[in-house]
Subunit: 178 residues, 2 copies
């Protein structure tokens, strides 16, 4: 941050404001304080029969690797609406949310990743600007070495492990760098 | 947003960037795009014997009303660390997290509120700059008409209802304006 977006001043300091205990970008001319907080990524593990829906990323980062449909949670929506919207945008698929499933705190990039278990309302899906391929995979068919993100890998692993007992407990976990 | 915080230009448009589908603040001079996404508020329902810990707000909004310790989730921490930090800041208390409990999507203000059930490690707490009073309450003693936020009210109600069966299922809910 180089200029104050309220008054245009270049007199920006990264410092702890009065009464606070974390550094923020502060304008020493107009007094504006700029807070940045973690972003939430929301997505869905969408199942159909004994398969789950994956999409091959057509955008950076991790272009060409496989992921669950997911993206940044947006203003004005519920988390479930976010998961439904992202799934539609990335796979063309319509889903029903079944339950919340995994929540990861990624402290090194200040993100939360939140995945639902969902089901395809019908086996209808296809490529989109964000996904060069969209397909259903059984556990054995999943390209485990080509999964885009650790939170997606873990969510898939938990799902197939939990499928053995048909008990899908909600899980929270911290993901650290490295 | 009046000035671009990267280049200082006043040529800011609120429009849908190429490849996107939501309006963002965009600088037509340097091409910067500014995303604003929902914030997460994290807190804890802290129990000790048959009581829960409430704090009387010493800051706006809702100054003078009672709440559970909670505040904005910050960069670089896990959600559980956020709940522990906020509880310490607002009540001086040390807690152990027991489980995630409630998650509310507040679409009208683009916030998520996430509450854990926790326990006080010992009955030691007190006022802070953010809380004029901090105290333990049984269900009957809670000032139900003076609770600061609907998500706090609901979390407390769910907790005492669930206490009857000693089954505290994780819950998700949408809170709408009004």
């Amino acid at each position: 941050m180089k200029y104050c977006s309220k008054c245009g001043s270049e007199n920006i300091q990264f410092k702890i404001p009065a009464g606070d205990n974390l550094k923020r970008y502060c304008c020493d001319d107009c007094g504006a304080i700029y807070y940045t907080n973690p972003n939430v990524v929301v997505g869905a593990l969408c199942k159909y029969e004994d398969k789950v829906l994956l999409c091959k990323r057509n955008i950076q980062p991790r272009l060409g690797l496989w992921t669950l449909p997911a993206g940044f949670f947006e203003n004005g929506e519920t988390l479930q609406q976010g998961a439904i919207r992202e799934t539609k945008e990335e796979t063309q698929a319509d889903i029903n949310i079944i339950q919340p499933y995994t929540l990861f705190s990624l402290t090194h990039i200040s993100q939360l990743h939140y995945f639902y278990i969902a089901e395809l309302t019908k086996p209808k899906f296809g490529p989109t600007p964000e996904s060069s391929e969209v397909a259903l995979f059984t556990e054995e068919e999943i390209p485990w070495d080509e999964i885009a993100f650790p939170t997606v890998y873990k969510t898939l692993k938990y799902f197939f492990e939990d499928s053995k007992t048909n008990t899908f407990e909600y899980k929270e976990e911290e993901i650290k760098l490295g």
